[in-house]
Symmetry: C2
Subunit: 308 residues, 2 copies
């Protein structure tokens, strides 16, 4: 059997939670995207080339991509060797699915090199080993959209149940203020119990968001982008958050909020012009605050990981 | 202006909550339906004919239909007189929207007699005065499907935001065991706080149910009909509940649970034959328990209230 010996996976950033859909919703971006170059090797095991920018661990079990590949290799059951070179374009700790992109990119590339023996759902399972290394929790709300593309719902983790949600054209503006919010810290500020009446508002909005996406009803999408539970607690960790949200919505954004566990903030817009203006507002807020930042203006990536 | 002087509204029963959508989802049934006959009268005010079966209050402000009409008359602002005769086909306290049917039927009939000055959303607002009389809470999860038909989402009460959800053909089996569960009692057993991890499961299922309905994905609908929060507490008030649920699902029902605050139990099926078999199982369970019951096998009513 002839197999490709080397492949590069372009694994996009992702926005988890989508404001009201904590731990269940997410969508893929066109940019930024990690470049994960994987080749088959005659020597069984995983060799990870050091990356010069972020000095990520090169021991496979401590590296998110390595841990994901280990998970896949155990399922494969035959001796196999991989060599991995990563060009990280998504900064670790940005809140736009950096660890998910590396985890998912590695296993999608490996699956291609092996002749596609595994399903998308299995690939999500393997990449969740990487998320466990990154944050201590096996979650799939970034991995699912990275692999499936578009907007995804993780209805359940055990058993894993991923549903692709159709969505209309949406432009995404994202600002990554260069401050550190560790996923573990962002999880620690959450309360274990919540008010039933807040939960009812939240699930009304989640149902509204899913219906709005599927009906291509932009107003309903905007009305549903409210979070009564997570955002009030987590946004305290992100300087400038309230200002960004208020000014971006005034400029015509449908709505938005914290991307994943932050510190990145995303906003959705119906028109590209609005999304660009929203990006400029984000830049202005952090310029005034004297905090370094990076702004992306992009769209929802319906394809997910691309191989080349 | 020529106006119709008398009209009868056939106001259907409704199933609120739909298992995972506590306080936000509901759907209308083809049967049973209350018959609300309303006529214009020269004498301002509301006259309610006594009903012989249930001896409901005839003072307008204590009667759910009367309270709803009072709400509408205040918005109308001109002196007007109504005479109402009700033929209650939905037993009060059954959990299939008896008070909502009477409340909604009265205001939809009155709106017709006045030349349709009010929108559906306004009619829901008026009928919520009836729900307040019935249960002390102004909720819309039965009224919305009664007036709009089909499956409805009440995304928010303040401001009121009702969204019609497209749904595939679904057959509905309902059993009303003739025991009393007061809405107020069913609310009292609920805890004010819930676990965040339970809430996440719940909103995953709500998102799955909305997506399943809109995609016509029967399996997804079935998988999403799970309630980790309300059902474990409320089902204790309904003898036979676990048995009904287990046996109906074994017989091929997609899923189901408590209708509204109970004691009725509903099950959804893809095929009419399955729904009939499910109805027979429901009858068998309560026959064995020695509890009187009534079984309905019907479909989702896409029209809502019908006037004649």
């Amino acid at each position: 059997m002839a197999t490709t010996k080397i492949v590069t996976a372009y694994a996009p950033g992702t926005v988890a939670n989508m404001v009201c859909g904590f731990d269940i919703l997410g969508f893929a971006l066109h940019e930024p995207a990690d470049q994960m170059t994987l080749s088959l090797s005659d020597k069984p095991g995983i060799v990870i080339a050091p990356d010069e920018e972020y000095h990520l661990p090169t021991e496979p079990e401590k590296n998110v991509a390595g841990a994901s590949l280990i998970g896949m290799m155990e399922a494969w059951g035959q001796p196999i060797g991989f060599e991995l070179t990563m060009k990280k374009m998504i900064k670790p700790g940005s809140g736009i699915g950096s660890s998910a992109a590396s985890s998912a990119g590695a296993v999608v590339a490996a699956n291609h090199l092996l002749g596609n023996p595994f399903s998308k759902e299995q690939l999500v399972q393997f990449a969740m080993f990487g998320e466990k290394v990154a944050s201590g929790v096996k979650h799939a709300d970034n991995i699912a959209p990275c692999i499936y593309g578009g907007v995804t719902l993780v209805r359940s983790i055990l058993p894993l149940d991923i549903i692709s949600l159709p969505s209309p054209n949406l432009f995404v503006s994202i600002v990554h203020p260069q401050i550190e919010v560790r996923t573990a810290d962002a999880r620690a500020v959450l309360k274990h119990t919540i008010q039933l009446k807040s939960a009812i508002k939240q699930w009304g909005n989640i149902a509204g968001l899913v219906a709005g996406l599927m009906k291509h009803d932009y107003d309903l999408i905007g009305r549903s982008l409210e979070d009564h539970i997570i955002e009030p607690v987590r946004s305290i960790l992100i300087p400038g958050f309230d200002d960004v949200k208020k000014r971006c919505k005034e400029a015509g954004a449908l709505g938005g909020g914290i991307s994943g566990s932050g510190p990145s903030i995303f906003m959705l817009s119906k028109q590209e012009d609005t999304a660009k203006q929203v990006g400029a507002i984000m830049a202005d807020v952090y310029t005034r605050l004297g905090i370094d930042y990076h702004v992306y203006v992009t769209t929802i990536n319906q394809q997910g990981i691309r191989l080349a």
